[in-house]
């Protein structure tokens, strides 16, 4: 198990006149088996950061080091190597699954992406993955439209797990789910981490969720990390005004 270390990352989005620095000089570390919570509001750049980590957004400068190798700006085989180790689960459960493929097909495709599997092997993998995310294996025949939001999100998670990554970046994975259902997905993340020793970078605007899951917390605003550190310490004694603001707002909402 290795550490994911991001240093001095700059990511520019948009082109021409709209171009702006969405991620501005970000340093972030996710140690082996650790859960790091990244909290920030919309426009803070957290989604761009998550995409840049897996090579979906072009890096202007900086390093993304995993297991001793720098993957910033990686392409081709190097990028595939990174994506074998670090995976991303998207926010919108509806958009991140191909509507025309069944759950089984989506998972089989992911399982075969880096390994050579025969038919039986693929079927077995699909079963294993569905069980891992606590879904009835019968769902393999269903299409995304026939599943609930929570179930779809579990399928997304299963897909990410198919390549057997060491780090999972979970980008607002419960934001689109009803409150009564989101707990299940979050519990699942905790269980997986306990079972497999996975590292987790969990991104959310919800301070309470971040507090619940994380060992360490990083606060992001306008492309920068304004504060970062051990969860208990940060929550008990926030150093930055913005952190304080977020904590107040979160506390104030408890009825």
């Amino acid at each position: 198990m290795s550490t994911l270390e991001i240093s001095g990352l700059h990511v520019v989005v948009g082109s021409g006149r709209d171009a702006h620095l969405a991620v501005n000089d970000v340093d972030l570390t996710v140690g082996p088996g650790e859960v790091v919570g990244l909290v920030g509001e919309s426009g803070s750049g957290k989604s761009t950061l998550s995409r840049a980590i897996v090579g979906l957004a072009p890096v202007r400068s900086g390093r993304i080091v995993f297991d001793g190798e720098d993957y910033a700006g990686a392409r081709g085989r190097r990028l595939r190597r990174l994506r074998r180790r670090v995976q991303l689960v998207f926010q919108d459960p509806r958009a991140s699954l191909d509507p025309r493929m069944t759950v089984g097909e989506t998972l089989a495709e992911a399982a075969s992406a880096h390994r050579r599997l025969d038919r039986a092997g693929r079927a077995a993998e699909v079963r294993r993955l569905l069980e891992l995310v606590q879904l009835d294996p019968a769902h393999a025949a269903a299409r995304p439209a026939g599943l609930s939001g929570g179930q779809r999100q579990r399928v997304s998670l299963a897909r990410a797990l198919a390549v057997e990554p060491q780090v999972i970046v979970a980008d607002e994975v419960t934001a689109a789910l009803d409150v009564s259902v989101q707990g299940a997905v979050l519990n699942l993340l905790r269980d997986l981490r306990a079972q497999t020793g996975l590292s987790l970078l969990t991104i959310s605007h919800d301070m309470a969720i971040v507090r619940y899951l994380s060992d360490r917390i990083a606060v992001m605003r306008s492309g920068r990390i304004v504060e970062q550190g051990d969860a208990a310490q940060l929550l008990g004694a926030p150093g930055h005004d913005y952190t304080r603001l977020l904590l107040e707002a979160a506390a104030g909402e408890a009825a």
Partner: protein
């Protein structure tokens, strides 16, 4: 499948087959007649032996029209195929090119689409020469830009979609991505475009022939026949009209076939299985709210802890509100008999998850839902007046003055094309009889109350020039200009950041306290509702399941759903070592709601009675406390820890 073959469609398919048969066999059957010269009957008009008349060599034009089918269709197919191929190739270029070249290519394609196709065709025809070959190539070039633009848009949107990105991240390689993800998703619209190109080619080729630039004699197609006939239009109209009608018919057949293909592909959506299941569930029990064995719901007379308020006429009183929406197969009823009241100056919240019907309830109560939604209610009284029974003018005057709406998305609440000033003054001018200056003064005052800086400047600005939070506060200010009795805020802070949310809620609170305007706040966020409102209505599957003072919500909710919902919301104090509380299953879709309590399937305390009979909303405990609950087994006792996941509880 059976539904697909309507008589209209069968007719269409028959016509299409007839056309194709004509193309295949026409020349074999009628060629002789088409070439037979009849020097006696030159240039004759329509007659029984020559329905379309004859041409200058005495040949029967009707036969020639039939024979020309093959040429016309073949040329059309060649043109469409070629144009489609050009277009798709051109449209895929931006995807494969680098980002800088991409926008240049996109602009080029857009320009080509705007350029007159016929001119393009003429240019090409000039180069390639006139005749069938020239016409086909020329028109193919003219048709290509449209296909290119569609391909480019589709490839862009699918190529940039989340599931393609997700597949890339998982490690799927490009060839498989294209074949398995991109192509199947862009194929249906492209097939439609091919069909459309076919009819376009069919209709455009004759244009060139008609101008003399297409098929040259002795070959002939419909266009040439039409062109020749047009010269003799005055003498023998059928010579032109005949081929003309045939062209139109063929065009209509191909267009209609394309439309039918479109409908077929669109209905091939993968959620058909779910609809079937839903239909079966709905058939099992009535979804419509009726007075059942459990009895009627009671309306609390806007009662709250403050007895004084209860005596006054409620600002809004709703009884047995129901909203029905037509659904492909019949009807869905997302709001099933809701009754509540709001006292003057009170802050009431409706909280619920997706499918609870909370937004529809508020909109229906405010008389803002129209066809095709069907709203029924025993009473909807605004300030004591029965809104639904008033004549239109009085109703508009009442609603315009007494009610204001603050919707969810701040950008779309204000008309983006108009300046803010006009939008902020029009309601006051319409309902308070103010003139322009007075209305403007009111608007400025309200903007200042909402702590919006430089209000005079803001009035002249457009909505997109303001930030989200400021826009929302401007919308609240806009609502307050008529001095309403009730503000209905539908998820007003959902799209906003936490810090901005506080500002907006503070602004709403100010409006409530300063002017005594009642507020009906709708949200899925229990924390927001609990913090802002005095009284909370909890909705589930189209009905109110509990009503209680906000202050008591945390500790003394009694409905299992409310308790479970509160337990499931993580706050800053929950125990990190225990799993989060959840509610198994998911909220039911309006189609799936059966006879009994809608929550029974997910409830830890459900009994047989719950599945059969729907519990009515009844007062709970001391009537003056203003609490109601719709449950056969309300749960007393402190909330937070007891309402954990059912696995840890006994079924009672």
């Amino acid at each position: 499948m059976r539904r697909m073959l309507t008589p209209g469609r069968l007719l269409l398919v028959a016509a299409l087959l007839a056309l194709l048969a004509l193309a295949a066999f026409g020349p074999l059957i009628w060629d002789d007649r088409a070439e037979a010269l009849d020097t006696v009957a030159l240039q004759q008009g329509a007659s029984w032996s020559h329905p379309f008349g004859t041409d200058e060599l005495g040949r029967d034009l009707f036969a020639r029209t039939l024979v020309a089918t093959r040429t016309s269709l073949l040329l059309a197919a060649a043109t469409a195929g070629l144009g489609f191929a050009f277009g798709v190739a051109l449209g895929l270029l931006p995807l494969l090119a680098g980002p800088r070249l991409r926008s240049a290519l996109a602009t080029t394609i857009n320009l080509l689409v705007a350029f007159p196709g016929l001119l393009l065709a003429l240019l090409v025809a000039t180069i390639v020469g006139i005749g069938s070959k020239g016409a086909v190539i020329a028109l193919a070039v003219a048709l290509a830009p449209q296909c290119a633009r569609l391909t480019q848009t589709l490839a862009g949107s699918v190529g940039g979609s989340e599931f393609v990105a997700a597949s890339r991240v998982v490690g799927v390689r490009w060839p498989r991505l294209l074949g398995r993800h991109v192509l199947p998703n862009i194929a249906p619209p492209l097939v439609l475009q091919l069909a459309a190109s076919l009819s376009a080619a069919l209709l455009a080729l004759p244009a060139l022939s008609f101008l003399g630039l297409g098929v040259q004699p002795p070959d002939y197609d419909w266009g040439r026949l039409l062109g020749d006939g047009l010269d003799r239009m005055y003498v023998t109209p059928m010579a032109a009209l005949g081929p003309g009608i045939v062209i139109v018919l063929a065009g209509v057949i191909f267009n209609a076939t394309g439309d039918m293909l479109a409908a077929a592909l669109a209905s091939e959506r993968p959620d058909r299985g779910r609809r079937r299941r839903a239909r079966r569930a709905a058939a099992a029990g009535p979804a419509v709210a009726t007075a059942d064995a459990g009895g009627r719901d009671e309306v609390a007379a806007g009662a709250s802890a403050d007895g004084g308020r209860a005596a006054a006429e409620p600002v809004l009183r709703v009884e047995q509100l129901q909203v029905a929406l037509p659904d492909g197969d019949g009807e869905v009823v997302p709001v099933r008999g809701v009754s509540f009241a709001i006292a003057p100056g009170e802050r009431v919240g409706i909280v619920g998850e997706s499918g609870s019907g909370k937004s529809l309830t508020a909109l229906a109560a405010a008389e803002l839902l129209d066809a095709p939604a069907v709203v029924t209610a025993e009473t909807v009284a605004l300030d004591g007046e029965p809104v639904r029974e008033l004549p239109r003018r009085r109703r508009d005057a009442l609603l315009g003055r007494a009610l204001a709406l603050v919707p969810q998305d701040p950008l779309s609440a204000l008309n983006p094309a108009l300046r803010i000033g006009g939008q902020l003054t029009e309601a006051a001018r319409a309902h308070r009889g103010l003139d322009r200056e007075q209305a403007r003064a009111v608007a400025l005052e309200r903007l200042e109350e909402m702590r919006i800086d430089r209000p005079q400047q803001r009035l002249r600005q457009h909505p997109h020039e303001l930030s989200g939070g400021m826009r929302q506060r401007a919308v609240i200010a806009m609502g307050m200009t008529v001095e309403p009795r009730l503000l209905v805020a539908d998820e007003p802070t959902t799209a906003l950041d936490v810090a901005v949310e506080r500002e907006v809620l503070r602004a709403l609170r100010a409006a409530n306290e300063r002017d005594g305007t009642a507020v009906l706040l709708i949200s899925h966020d229990v924390g927001v509702v609990g913090g802002f409102c005095e009284r909370v209505l909890v909705m589930y599957a189209g009905r109110i399941v509990e009503e209680l003072p906000a202050a008591e919500m945390r500790e003394r909710a009694v409905h299992p759903y409310t308790r479970a919902l509160l337990a499931a919301v993580p706050d800053m104090a929950i125990d990190r070592d225990r799993p989060l509380a959840t509610i198994p299953g998911r909220p039911p879709h309006p189609r799936e709601v059966g006879a009994g309590c809608a929550f029974a399937a997910r409830c830890a305390h459900a009994s047989a009675r719950c599945a059969e009979a729907r519990p009515p909303l009844r007062a709970h405990g001391d009537p003056a406390a203003g609490r109601r609950v719709a449950c056969w087994h309300p749960q007393e006792g402190v909330t937070a820890d007891t309402a954990a996941a059912p696995a840890e509880e006994e079924r009672s």
